[in-house]
């Protein structure tokens, strides 16, 4: 792998809540290569959003964010260090747009220019039809797909090097999803952008991502090239997650489920966080937290059964 654009080591995000300390992220190691699309998957509460919100400085003031973060090789703030370089695309484009200002007024603020020609260009790049008219429109006059295109235009207006897309297609219908995925892929090509694509939908990830990181209980369980991870999962959790994803080839079959629940953020975890739900659990699993170990130059997993193959 070329020198990473973003490198995260042992990131820990902890929230103080009235019911106790919640460990949302429990030591994540992650590299993002320049120009790649990294998919980040996992169940709800596994720390997908918390990780990137922390890096963007969006954690609540009471949260503690520690770890080692490097941008382009240079150490940077753990909390918020990404902000000057990254832009965000939201899950619900309706909520990410201000309802009482026109698209043009909002875009002008983030683009730092009032020039209608320049603003129309930005809307044109994300495939919004009739940009001069779209600038005058209010968000509620747009469809969901058009709103998401507008949100992407806002993100591009900030001239980011890294685009963080937090479930950007989850709230859209399937045909619109496909259009937005194509748009993101083509924008990445044109601008040589780096994209982190957070999703719980493995089908979407397999379609758009180059590499994928599977998160479990605030740690990376498995990370590698999309084909490696999805075709030959090593970590029992990744394997179970893939088995529990419906596909057209499985019509009529029962869908596999993973017994049990993701450990609560308040719980102390000793050893492997997945041990209680794992079919292959042995005593050694509960003794120590398994580190990420490479199985090939492009593939690594955090499971005690993985032999160091690199």
């Amino acid at each position: 792998m070329t020198a990473p654009l973003l490198s995260v080591r042992d990131l820990r995000v902890t929230f103080q809540t009235p019911t106790g300390v919640v460990r949302a992220v429990r030591g994540i190691d992650l590299d993002v290569a320049p120009g790649e699309i990294l998919g980040v998957v996992g169940e709800s509460g596994c720390g997908k959003s918390a990780t990137f919100r922390a890096l963007l400085g969006l954690s609540p003031a009471s949260a503690s964010v520690v770890g080692d973060v490097r941008w382009d090789g240079t150490p940077t703030d753990t909390s918020g260090g990404l902000q000057p370089h990254a832009a965000m695309i939201y899950q619900n484009p309706g909520a990410a747009l201000n309802p009482v200002f026109t698209i043009g007024q909002q875009l002008a603020l983030v683009a730092g220019t009032d020039d209608p020609v320049r603003l129309s260009e930005l809307l044109d790049q994300v495939g919004l039809p009739d940009p001069p008219k779209a600038l005058q429109a209010y968000p509620h006059e747009f469809s969901g797909g058009m709103r998401q295109r507008a949100v992407i235009a806002f993100a591009l207006a900030q001239k980011p090097r890294l685009l963080i897309a937090d479930e950007p297609t989850t709230a859209l219908d399937v045909t619109t999803q496909a259009q937005i995925l194509d748009l993101l892929a083509s924008i990445r090509e044109e601008r040589n952008l780096t994209v982190v694509f957070v999703s719980h939908d493995l089908a979407v990830i397999s379609r758009i991502a180059d590499r994928v990181a599977v998160l479990y209980a605030g740690r990376v369980a498995e990370i590698g090239a999309v084909d490696d991870v999805l075709q030959r999962p090593t970590h029992p959790y990744a394997a179970a997650l893939i088995r529990s994803t419906p596909s057209p080839a499985m019509v009529g079959e029962d869908l596999a489920t993973i017994p049990g629940l993701v450990p609560d953020g308040r719980a102390e975890i000793f050893g492997c966080a997945f041990a209680d739900r794992c079919d292959h659990v042995i005593d050694a699993c509960r003794a120590e937290t398994p580190p990420l170990r490479a199985t090939s130059p492009t593939h690594a997993a955090a499971c005690i059964r993985v032999e160091d193959g690199a």
Binding site: A87, L97, P99, V100, G112
Partner: protein, 333 residues
């Protein structure tokens, strides 16, 4: 435009309803208007004469119809107490109250809105707690008390401001609009303007206290809601300066829901002006109305109720139009 016409028509219905109710109530009260008008020492023959003159011997429905007819021509009837046309008296007293209420509402918004925004921007921090204390204090201090304290300090002790009234006794200018601030400016004499202003200071502050606290609390509350929205986070991430985020992007969202209630505080100020007017000897509609109530002057009570109703209805209409301007999702249908 069609919306406006329809709203004006329904507003007319509301006013008609209030007119009918006040009319009926005034006639249900067991007292004889003719006797009241004729005075306590009138002979029965004189009372009878008054009854005929005022058309009070007609049937109640006939009186109602002729009353409505008079209203449409702007005739609000004649006061029992001073036998003057009520419409003329109201034209004298109403501007005095409106001048107070407009300035008080304007002042409370000019101060309350930024304070509410600043408080919300620093939720639960020291500045927020300080501003909330101001808000609670200003809604809870009774008008008569704060008025007396101000008078004691600024008029009696320091002699900086006049104790009461709209002008000093030696100041005179043409009352063209009844709004003394405008009239004094029209008179072209700076000393007149200064005199009117110094008389306005204390009553306006006292009257503004309650709406000020309400404004702070409402704006703070609806700002807190808006500041939690993803589009605010997105704007901050996009590098929009915090001032613009607070006072433009967030405030326009927060203003629309708060405005409905804030506008009604203006109408409330008009109808609750009597305390302020009593303390500051201010010849407004509140004092006119309280005097009428004490003297059981039914035509005046009915007419003043009607005027206050009309003010409420108009303010409501104005607020709806303003809300539609602030929020493009509100359709005027």
């Amino acid at each position: 435009m069609r919306y406006l016409l329809r709203r004006l028509l329904t507003s007319l219905g509301v006013v008609l309803g209030v007119v009918t109710i006040t009319f009926v109530v005034a006639r249900l009260v067991p007292s004889d208007p003719a006797a009241l008008y004729a005075g306590p020492r009138a002979r029965p023959a004189q009372v009878e004469q008054v009854r005929q003159d005022l058309n009070l011997d007609a049937s109640i429905p006939a009186q109602y119809v002729s009353y409505l007819g008079d209203l449409f021509t702007g005739d609000l009837g004649i006061s029992f107490a001073n036998r003057r046309p009520i419409a003329e008296d109201l034209l004298n007293f109403l501007p005095a109250t409106l001048e107070l209420a407009l300035l008080a509402t304007g002042l409370s918004m000019a101060i309350g809105i930024p304070l509410g925004v600043w408080a919300a921007a620093r939720q639960d921090r020291r500045r927020d707690n300080g501003i909330r204390l101001v808000a609670v204090t200003s809604v809870s201090v009774p008008v008569f008390w704060s008025a007396l304290i101000l008078q004691l300090f600024f008029a009696n002790r320091l002699g900086l401001l006049p104790l009461s009234g709209r002008t000093s006794s030696d100041v005179e200018f043409a009352e063209r609009t009844g709004f003394f601030l405008i009239d004094s400016v029209l008179s072209g004499s700076p000393s007149n303007v200064g005199d009117v202003l110094t008389h306005l200071v204390m009553p306006v502050i006292v009257m503004a206290a309650y709406p000020l606290g309400l404004t702070i609390r409402l704006i703070r509350g609806s700002m807190l809601e808006v500041l939690g929205e993803p589009f605010i986070e997105a704007a901050r991430l996009g590098g929009v300066p915090e001032r613009t985020v607070l006072f433009r992007l967030a405030l326009k969202n927060a203003l629309a829901p708060a405005l409905t209630i804030l506008g009604l505080t203006f109408a409330y100020s008009v109808s609750s002006a009597f305390l302020v007017e009593a303390v500051f000897n201010w010849p407004g509609i509140g004092r006119y109305l309280t005097d009428a109530i004490i003297r059981v002057d039914f035509p005046v009570i009915t007419a003043a109720t009607l005027v206050i109703t009309v003010i409420y209805v108009l303010v409501n209409l104005l607020l709806d139009l303003l809300q539609a301007r602030l929020d493009p999702r509100v359709e005027l249908e």
